[in-house]
Amino acid sequence: MVSTLILLSATGLGLAALYFLVASGLSLIFGLMDVLNFAHGAFVAVGGYAAWTVADHVAGGFGLGLALIAAVAGGAALAALTELFIIRPLYARPLDQVLATVGLGLAIPALLQAVWGADPRTWTLPGWLAGTVNLLGAHIPTVRFVLIAAALALLGGLRLLLARTRAGLVVRAGVENREMVAALGIDVHRAFTGVFALGGAAAGLAGLLDGLYQGSISPGDGTSLLIFAFVVVVLGRMGSLTGTAVASAAVGLVQQFANYLSPNLGDESVVILLAAVLLLRRRDLKGRPA
């Protein structure tokens, strides 16, 4: 019984880690720029395929290291280009902006499918990652700890960045009031590109880790992660990093425990959680009184 609890918790937190990697970028992007970025799942997918392709050519731990760089760089570059060439010209037209990200979110997985095919591509894990760890009788795949560690590292890194650096100061102020930041002589658009690139890097990392977690990747992976990431972002309040972390853990755990009770209940329970919180909370998505 205890080992089941531990296994479910570890699985839930592993999933939560993936949600956090995707949702933290989404949340910062919405918090700073009011952009609902439906292309974020595509960043995940591109990171995943970039990593897989590199690891397919270079074997072992070294290949995995290169794959990590490819995932992060691929996600960041795609995100920065998206902000510069698709989002930026449309800041005065928010609806068109959302539609453009939806389009990109559909086009990129289709492009990936055209190049790599619709069938899943299998990840072969290096030996040290393929095993399980025995935790109080529960055999937990090592990869889940890697996921959780990556999410915690991202949370810590982002918090430091926001609290200790000038760029972080600009982002925190920009989440509160973009106009006033510009009126103080600060080029907020540079912060926009930076936050997009950072969110894209985290999404690319999620693409790699999702592949390791599932043992394979397919073109639509990012899009399915994105749905849960959006739920997390709404629950955790847009623009709040801590809120996003807590909401990720909540969604991952609720989903796993509900799935244990009855298969398929997992996804439904997340939707119920979202509906309940939205109905009971008298605040808008950024946490201001509605």
Partner: protein, 275 residues
Amino acid sequence: MTYQSSVDQVVADRAPTATEPILRVSGLTVTLGGSAILHGVTFDVAATGVTALLGRNGVGKTTTVKSVLGLHPIGGVVSFAGTDLSTLPTHRIARLGIGYVPEDRAVFAGLTVEENLRLAEPARAAPRYDFVYELFPVLRERARQPAGTLSGGEQQMLALGRVLLGPARLLLIDEPTKGLSPKYAGQVALALGRIAQQVPILLVEQNLAVVRRMARDAVVLDMGRVVHTGDARDLLADPSLTNRLLGVSAAPVHSTTAKPAPAAAPAADLEAGAW
């Protein structure tokens, strides 16, 4: 040299002369959400002292100020010391030395007082913390406190201190005493008086006691148009004019025994209590 004598020196250097205006707004039109807010607003802001932008609620005062800063798409010409602002993005306009203190103060509530100030430090000049802390000692005392926990008056001081860190050449200050207790309104007005000796100010202000005390020129807007420009004291000395243009009676209070009209009561409090 003490602060006051240095200010006196500055004032002497800038004694009323017919210099070029620092800001020229001509034919400014703004349309927001499909409705025209400003219909060809034209006025100048003098290179010294305070120019008051007056008018009833909703006539376009805040829109005018925000348009100067490039926060709204505009028609017409806004020129600052010879530079055309109409095509520049807001951050570039600010870097020319235009400081903005908005109506709602817009301090960053989740940032500490210190962080609010640090954010506003100029990129190329040494921040003038001595000047700001001398003007508003409370900002040093509350450096580590989140700005959202300050009182309204302290937030106003932070919003003012923020734009004074850099080498400001013009300040746009929107309703600085609005909603403040008489004590804070007095302190803020006093500080404004000292700031105005160093930097020209375009001041939106409903409190006519403050306007009377500080403004040399007045520009009155109505329905998105300029309906009066001229000497501020002359305007406020003419009850029929102020009543028609501003909807208030602002007869000058000649002695403390004179009974002010009800609409001017807060102003009278300010004058009696704060100075």
